[in-house]
Subunit: 615 residues, 2 copies
């Protein structure tokens, strides 16, 4: 294999840049297979046989080669599986395999002006100047990339609906959306659309109160029209009563009532209603120590178990706070056995370095999934990290997160080492082990130099990049650490806000006691004195200092490891990634010094090892 | 006089809303006089006689009435003086009077998209959708209002020049600008324009290096063209090498070279070049304790005294930092005896409450002017607080600041009580004393609840409204207080950064010693322990606590005083202003609690009087 600039090709280096041809998913599968085999110089015969197994497939040996056998989309997944294995010089054979999650979704937070909320990879792939305006070739390559890791649904528009995005579900935009859906469908990918909950109130019905029959009718008419254009639409995604968005609470109604109304409009078409549970008081008074933001989602939804229609899916962020570097799994994911749930992850590195700093996410996701019982969520979604940058993700290595997410969505498990190895062997076969090592080392570095021990939110307000220890301390967002001269953190134990009580007993008890609470989550759950003695005998503050010195060093080590690859990488790739590592090293030093200085000024306690802490 | 909603009329309640008619300033003067006398029901005869005294005028008694005698603009000023006095039921007689500052300018920070940088009163009066697009009637009323307090020059465009604003000095916009200048000229007001220093580099000359003859020629041609359209243009205003704007330093040249080049292009037309001295390192590393931002302007410019051309004017902010609630006068204003200087004030309440909180500025300006020797600055400019809000300034009472600025610009002195009384008697004659009292009490309240004792910059980053004690603590802006467990502030004395050494000896010595330093500036100049004992025996920290409790109470008292006026005010005015006071009270409490809690958490020291400080 040649050493090419893989920015645009991502991990699909075994395919030519030309897009596949065909009018059905089977056509695409065969086209990709032909192109891939040719590109890989693979001579054996490979047959493709379609069966009725949907997304599942198997790959067996035939007399003179291989047989890929699968359902309509299964054969496409089988083809990618086959080519990927060959490219990685592994056996392509596999017994029948089918996806763990029936819906494996990417949520784009794209706005119709072309900006991307929490986007770190350029502008929107879909929207420009309030139009659906995309490069068709690029959408094919995007869809191919997603399909190669089994993503089968995308929501192109932001959960925060800014006008005229509300009109996407009207005739103004539906003809354009249909064309997008037609391309994606070739790759087994379906559309999902966010809607504006209050839309009936200003667009014909005069109110959006879910109690009103006129509002039901209004949504039924909307759904009918949308499904006329896009008959395989997955459904609607809604952010309601969340961060200033209107919702049922606006009308004094329950979320059951609001969600079921929408779900019933979608039901005749087999549509689902994804209802985000990111609901909390975003106008908290910092003086209020009773309200505890992580408790909000469980408190709001757990009592409603069993009251949602079958086609309602509650979409729940992995942590109870908001995509911080380190959080426990959301207690809501253990609850509501009689309700459909989707786990929401974030591939976009909002709080994890903006795709400037490297943060391979598969370990974080593993930590989430291994905490949860099998079947905790029936579906999976993730906020995308893609934009119109040539290399899709801003940071070339951030592509590994998209890859890993797809693999998790298929398997229902995260295997960070395996995914890193696969991705690196596909993308940088000439330096696969080194690159995988860099990926695997990255989250620990970031976690050490960022906010300590699960504390979170010591970031610059709004932008969420770089340190600001008290950036959120007196704000309305409910994310406080209340550090003083002697201690830091919020006591969320049974002796404090009682958040630990929302967990099943075995977890709750574990988290409740600082002695048994996982160390990396100590300051998520507890308020502790700086001189609190940790398991290894160090004080809490010394641990914080050590982590920050070490984290910044580890960032430098990541950069140094990359520099070792100079001769193995195409020059442009090397320089592009190196430039990111240089920014990361600077960022890591800033985190280290700001956080250490912050604690030093607060506590007056010096580093036991006498390293430089600015006063 | 009727009780009317004075929002739109401002203090010109003695004039009808109809705009004056005429084609010369004399026409306008006579038109205003007729309308005003009629509106006031004033029967005596008033003659207007033009002489050659320019802006000066005198008002004497005649056999059957009065004579207003003055130069071309003098008669207009005389008419406003006359009407104002009659409206206030005072004698209109005055011996010959002429302005202290020959140029009395408003700098608007308006952008061509219609937004206003640091604007708190709606959108731009001049620009919309990248065009000069204004309501002509409104510009007449604006000009009348400014002329009534002797403003004689305005710069409509922001010192931060965002494209296409650079093109204002080209044929693309000059015909539109000429029309604006033609209206303003009727009121004795001339235009000034900000320019983009680097413009020659991308607009024909290939560089903006002031060393290059082609750049000189380029500016000469620009100036020639601008003056063809607007022959009485005051000149250009420039923000160069400041906060990411390019300037001579970009080309390795001195500010003398850069400013003189521009001044020479303007000289043939009698134009002046206003060169802002807001030059400092805006990429400071917070770890760097050597660099001290307040020292920057003096260090940059003082050595250049005598090297600037006669038509260069250095425009210097009143304080060395940036329009904080409390700063010493800039040391640069004492220096450079052989250089023309303009004092730059800010009427826009960027750091003083956003025209939501009331902050009457005349006392702050008095404190500046009384610190400075007469003649420290030859000209005066101020950032405007105007926008397209019906009441011009967002807060009705903020009009008093515009009024006071005009009076200062004429007199060269600030008399807060007098100006407040004048303005209140004109605007709210039915409650003049009460309103004047509210104005006069307002700055002390704000100062107490904001950052303590001259410390400054404890505000929310970017927006500059509301408290954020460490908002700027680790930023690039050079505004740090370095609070720790025991002390706060930067030592700017001879034992610290040496900033006090930039002042004339008598001031430098005063500031240098905490014992003689004015108390309100203590933390501007000194780093002090929380237990530092103040003159009255309280500790520094107790003083901070007391100020914050008192300041919030004083804000409530302002609101209560306004509420007393319910029956004396037109309902809409009353409610509009009351709504602002309600926001101010909330804001003041937030300041109080955040600042007190911040210091309590840092120091561990409780309030001696046991009041509520949140932990």
């Amino acid at each position: 294999m040649n050493i090419i600039d893989t920015g645009a090709a991502a991990w699909l280096t075994y395919l030519p840049m030309e897009i596949p041809q065909g009018e059905t998913t089977q056509d695409i599968a065969r086209s990709e297979l032909r192109a891939g085999l040719s590109s890989l110089g693979f001579a054996a015969k490979v047959d493709v046989i379609e069966d009725d197994k949907g997304e599942g497939f198997e790959i067996t040996q035939s007399q003179d080669g291989y047989v890929i056998k699968g359902g309509k989309t299964g054969v496409l997944y089988g083809v990618y599986h086959f080519l990927s294995a060959i490219a990685r010089e592994e056996s392509p054979l596999t017994p029948f395999t089918a996806p763990h999650y029936p819906l494996r979704m990417i949520n784009h937070w794209d706005n119709m002006d072309g900006s991307v909320e929490r986007g770190y990879a350029g502008r929107s792939l879909f929207f420009k100047n309030h139009q659906l305006d995309y490069d068709e070739q690029r959408i094919h390559r995007y869809a191919r990339m997603l399909a190669s890791v089994s993503i089968n649904a995308i929501c192109p528009n932001n959960v925060n609906v800014h006008p005229p995005m509300d009109l996407l579900i009207t005739k103004t935009y539906l003809p354009q959306l249909k064309k997008l859906a037609d391309i994606l469908r070739l790759y087994g990918i379906r559309l999902l659309l966010t809607i504006e909950y209050s839309m009936p109130s200003y667009h014909g019905a005069g109110t959006a109160d879910p109690h009103e029959k006129t509002v039901h009718t209004w949504w039924e008419e909307r759904a009918a029209e949308v499904y006329r254009y896009i008959p395989d639409l997955v459904g609607f995604l809604v952010k309601a009563d969340s961060e200033y968005r209107p919702g049922p609470f606006t009308y004094g109604r329950s979320h059951t009532q609001g969600a079921n109304m929408l779900a019933r409009a979608l039901a005749p078409y087999g549509g689902k209603l994804f209802w985000r549970c990111f609901v909390y008081n975003c106008k908290q008074d910092w003086r209020d120590t009773e309200t505890d933001r992580p408790k909000a989602a469980f408190a709001t939804y757990a009592p409603l178990d069993g009251e949602f229609d079958d086609n309602v899916v509650l979409q729940i962020k992995n942590g109870p706070l908001d995509f911080q570097v380190r959080e426990p799994a959301s207690p809501l994911l253990y609850a509501m056995p009689n309700t459909n749930k989707a786990l929401e992850l974030q591939i976009a590195q909002e709080y994890t370095g903006h795709q400037i700093d490297l943060f391979y996410l598969a370990q974080l996701w593993r930590d989430v999934l291994t905490q949860l019982p099998k079947g905790a969520a029936q579906y999976i979604a993730a906020v995308g990290n893609l934009g119109d940058d040539d290399n899709w993700c801003g940071h070339d290595l951030a592509q590994a997160n998209l890859y890993a997410y797809g693999r998790i969505a298929w398997l229902g498990e995260s295997h960070p080492e395996q995914f890193a190895a696969e991705w690196a062997r596909l993308t940088y076969p000439q330096a696969a082990e080194e690159v995988a090592d860099i990926l695997l080392a990255s989250p620990a570095a970031y976690e050490k130099y960022a906010a300590p021990l699960g504390l979170g939110f010591m970031v610059n307000p709004h932008i969420h990049y770089g340190p600001s220890p008290e950036g959120y301390e007196f704000s309305l967002w409910g994310t406080y650490h209340r550090a003083d001269q002697t201690a830091i953190g919020v006591d969320r134990s049974s002796r404090g806000t009682g958040f630990t009580g929302q967990y099943p007993d075995q977890f709750g008890a574990l988290f409740d006691d600082p002695a048994t609470c996982p160390e990396k989550l100590l300051l998520f759950f507890h308020r502790l004195r700086y001189d609190h003695v940790m398991a290894d005998g160090r004080t809490l503050l010394q641990r914080i200092y050590d982590d920050h010195f070490n984290g910044a060093q580890e960032a430098e080590a990541l950069k140094a490891a990359w520099e070792q690859l100079k001769d193995k990488m195409p020059e442009r790739t090397f320089e592009r990634v190196l430039a990111r590592f240089e920014r990361q090293v600077k960022n890591a030093r800033e985190w280290r010094d700001v956080i250490n200085t912050y604690f030093y000024r607060k506590s007056g306690i010096s580093d036991a090892r006498g390293r430089m802490i600015y006063s």
